[in-house]
Symmetry: C2
Subunit: 222 residues, 2 copies
């Protein structure tokens, strides 16, 4: 099993910075650890607040070794963002014009809420990046994301014209869904303080999901 995986040849250096060549087992493992540790640190302390030493410790290796894999702090930060970005924006894609609006929206809301539950750190990192003016991901927001939103807004618009959805501004409606679902990750501390519970708790998550479904769908469906 797993034969012929080594493509690298002698005399062909494979510096870890260059993503081209196939990474070794060690590299894969360490890269994953580093990203994980960095996500944890960056999301809870911000870019400046997280130190490379802390991240290295969270990743279970020395600072020097970590810097062997990622040139510097900024490159590491960008790598973490790149890792979470796709998964973060992707779910919106599942909205299809040929779907039943109620079913599709319900599923989308649930998926976003589960994402907030399962990856709260990613949510917070993303939020932090945007709140600081999105210095790293600005182009993605005004490029691919903008197009994606335009596309899905058109889908909502179509449903409205078919009389299956109330006439509300589709873009603002999308923002509403993002806001209420991500809130459960980003403001988890506040929610814990106020309710004693968190979206990590199954019953609480169900209650949240039910409320979002009721309000958003009854508020939007015709």
């Amino acid at each position: 099993m797993e034969l012929a995986l080594k493509v690298r040849r002698k005399g062909q250096k494979n510096k870890p910075e260059e993503a081209g060549a196939s990474p070794s087992r060690i590299q894969e493992r360490n890269r994953a650890r580093i990203i994980e540790g960095a996500l944890s640190c960056f999301s809870s302390k911000g870019f400046k607040g997280a130190t490379v030493e802390q991240i290295a410790e969270a990743a279970g290796m020395s600072k020097s070794n970590m810097l062997y894999y990622y040139r510097n702090k900024k490159a590491l930060y960008e790598a973490v963002l790149a890792t979470i970005l796709e998964r973060w924006l992707e779910p919106l894609n599942q909205l299809d014009p040929s779907d039943d609006p109620e079913t599709a929206l319900k599923a989308y809301i649930s998926e976003k809420l589960m994402l907030a539950r399962d990856e709260p750190q990613a949510s917070r990192l993303f939020a932090g990046e945007v709140m600081q003016g999105a210095p790293v991901i600005a182009k993605i927001l005004s490029g691919p994301l903008k197009e994606l939103v335009a596309d899905k807004a058109a889908t909502l618009q179509k449903w409205m014209e078919e009389g299956r959805l109330k006439a509300v501004d589709p873009v603002h409606f999308i923002f509403m869904i993002w806001a209420v679902t991500q809130h459960y990750a980003d403001f988890d501390t506040q929610i814990r303080a106020v309710t004693g519970n968190s979206v990590a708790d199954e019953d609480f998550a169900s209650k949240a999901e039910a409320t979002l479904h009721t309000v958003l769908l009854q508020g939007a469906l015709k």
Copy 2:
């Protein structure tokens, strides 16, 4: 006009740290400048990311002089948070059991949205503090805020029992209002990138307000 304002006497030192004695004109002015500059810096760069030098510059004075008014960075951060906190949590108070639910909720949503428009930096600072685990305001969240939410949840509950509001979880409904309104401040960068507009723009704010009213109220009213 403005007679007899000087209460201080000779031989009675008035160190700026002590909030007791009446502050001088200069002190009042400088304190205000500092808080303003600090809010701007902290909200856009986070606690660690903002340097005392930058804050001092934003406040239009030397670092040393700023530290004459606030012992250290942490004290300054706490002062900024204290300044915005009351205004931030207060609006919820206007929900009164004797109000008409539709009118009251509409007004509350609008007020929160206007707050996001007028004080986006405060919103972002608050969000950042909570996202990092609310190290400074934890006690306020689990104390006064928790009580306030419990009280207002009871108000919503009463409206539900009177059949004037759909039976949804009142606490989650409050969270929804917070989430969608603050989103316009906290994610302003993303909203700008995607739509080209911001809640700072009047027409855009109206559109947002209308959408929030429609969805949240139609989703909650009976």
